[in-house]
Each structure stands twice: as structure tokens, then as C-alpha cells.
Symmetry: C2
Subunit: 134 residues, 2 copies
């Protein structure tokens, strides 16, 4: 498979992730996460969660009240055969920065890592009260 095809497939999974999230579709979200290795998820404002069972439990709670979320500006970098995807997320007036790492599993991409956190745009526009931390 060409890298271009792999990238297109990764962006398809990325889009499916946000559809599942916006629609509160836990079964779809569950299907999207890798099942043959560790997974890691860091929700906005939360500490990292390591392990599939705990990660999916967190999604089960979140998907009870699905956010009106929109992903923008997705960019893919292929690193060592894994797809790294960055994007911003918009939930109403709240803006988040998100990163995912996708692994190839059973003929398709699956999510192994997701982290989202609040952001301003760009770093120089961080609120003066806090300023850039690092």
C-alpha cells in the first residue's frame, strides 16, 4: 500500500473518531481503538489513562453526553510505520489541540494514543495571565 493510501486511510479513521464522539456512539468508538497492545488516552483537563479497559470506561462516561465537537486542520506524519495525526478541536468557543497515534491492526488503522488539551492559537497568543509554560 502506498504511503498516500495509508495517510488517506488514517484520515478516514480520524474522521470516524470524531463522528463517534459527536454522536455518542460507544460501539463505534470501541471499534476504533487498538485491541492488541497498550493504549493511552489523556482527556482535556485530566491525567493520562493507560490501558484499554480504563480508557474505554472513560469514553463510556464521556459519550453519555457527547460534545458538539468539530475537528480541524488535521495533519498526518508517518513515523516508523505508525500514523501520527495532529488537529485542533472546536467545542463551541473552546479550542483544543489533539494528537493521535494510530497503529495498523487487522487490515486497518486503530487508535493507540489520544491526547487533547486546551489551546490558544498560536503559542504567542497564550493568555498573558498564564503565559507559555513550555
Amino acid at each position: 500500500m502506498s504511503e498516500e493510501t495509508e495517510i488517506r486511510a488514517a484520515l478516514g479513521i480520524h474522521a470516524a473518531f470524531y463522528t463517534a464522539l459527536a454522536e455518542g456512539d460507544w460501539d463505534a468508538m470501541n471499534e476504533l481503538w487498538a485491541s492488541t497492545g497498550p493504549v493511552i488516552c489523556t482527556h482535556p483537563g485530566a491525567t493520562p489513562i493507560l490501558g484499554r479497559e480504563a480508557v474505554m470506561a472513560s469514553w463510556r462516561q464521556i459519550l453519555l453526553e457527547p460534545p458538539a465537537i468539530e475537528a480541524r486542520d488535521a495533519q498526518v506524519a508517518m513515523i516508523r510505520g505508525l500514523a501520527f495525526i495532529t488537529c485542533t478541536e472546536q467545542i463551541g468557543e473552546v479550542r483544543l489541540a489533539a494528537t493521535k497515534v494510530l497503529v495498523w491492526e487487522d487490515g486497518g488503522w486503530r487508535v493507540a494514543l489520544h491526547q487533547a488539551g486546551h489551546c490558544a492559537d498560536p503559542i504567542r497568543e497564550s493568555t498573558p495571565s498564564s503565559g507559555p509554560l513550555h
Copy 2:
């Protein structure tokens, strides 16, 4: 090399990263990032930066005023031969959640991805005014 040895080496790089950051040592930070592939960095409150030149330019700015930062609770997961490390970061009273992905390059681990964002602990303790977003 055993996985245990790989994990110990990854935690060594993780510690070196925070030493470089706390000491404002740009040369050390520069050495720690992968040089043979794309790298991605998302600083707290900022949008994702893709590409080594832009990432290192952001560190050059940040390291002019190094934060009094301490990393805690590091956990490593080996996924597809890459080291995924989560931790929390403490800067004064500010707490951040961070994720890194390390790739093996020239006989050692190098950072290919870093993201840090503000966090409460755990997700259920998110401030009521915002609540968990996802």
C-alpha cells in the same frame, strides 16, 4: 536488548528531557529530539507544531526562561517498538499531563512526539465551570 533495559533507557531520556528543560539547556534538548524523521510538539495552551525546525525554534524561545518543572508518575508502554511515556508535570501550583513517544535512533531513544496540557486530577475533579469536555 531486553524490554526492561529499553524501558530503563527510555526513562533515562525522559529524565534528561526535564533536566534540559529546567536548566534551559537548548543544546541538550536539541540532542534529545529525533533527527531522522518528522517530530511533533504541542506545548501547553498552544496548537501542534509539526517538523523539527519549527519544534526546535519553539524550544529555543521557551528555554530562554526555563520553568521550574518537575516530572512525576512516569509510565512507559512499549507499542510497536516505540516507547510511549506518560507523566504529570508540576510547575509551581500548575499541573500538566504530558505524553511522549520515543523512537530508537543511532543506538538510543530520541523524542518524536511531546504534548503537554493543563490537568486536574482525575477527570472527575475537572472544574465544575468547564466540566469534562471529552
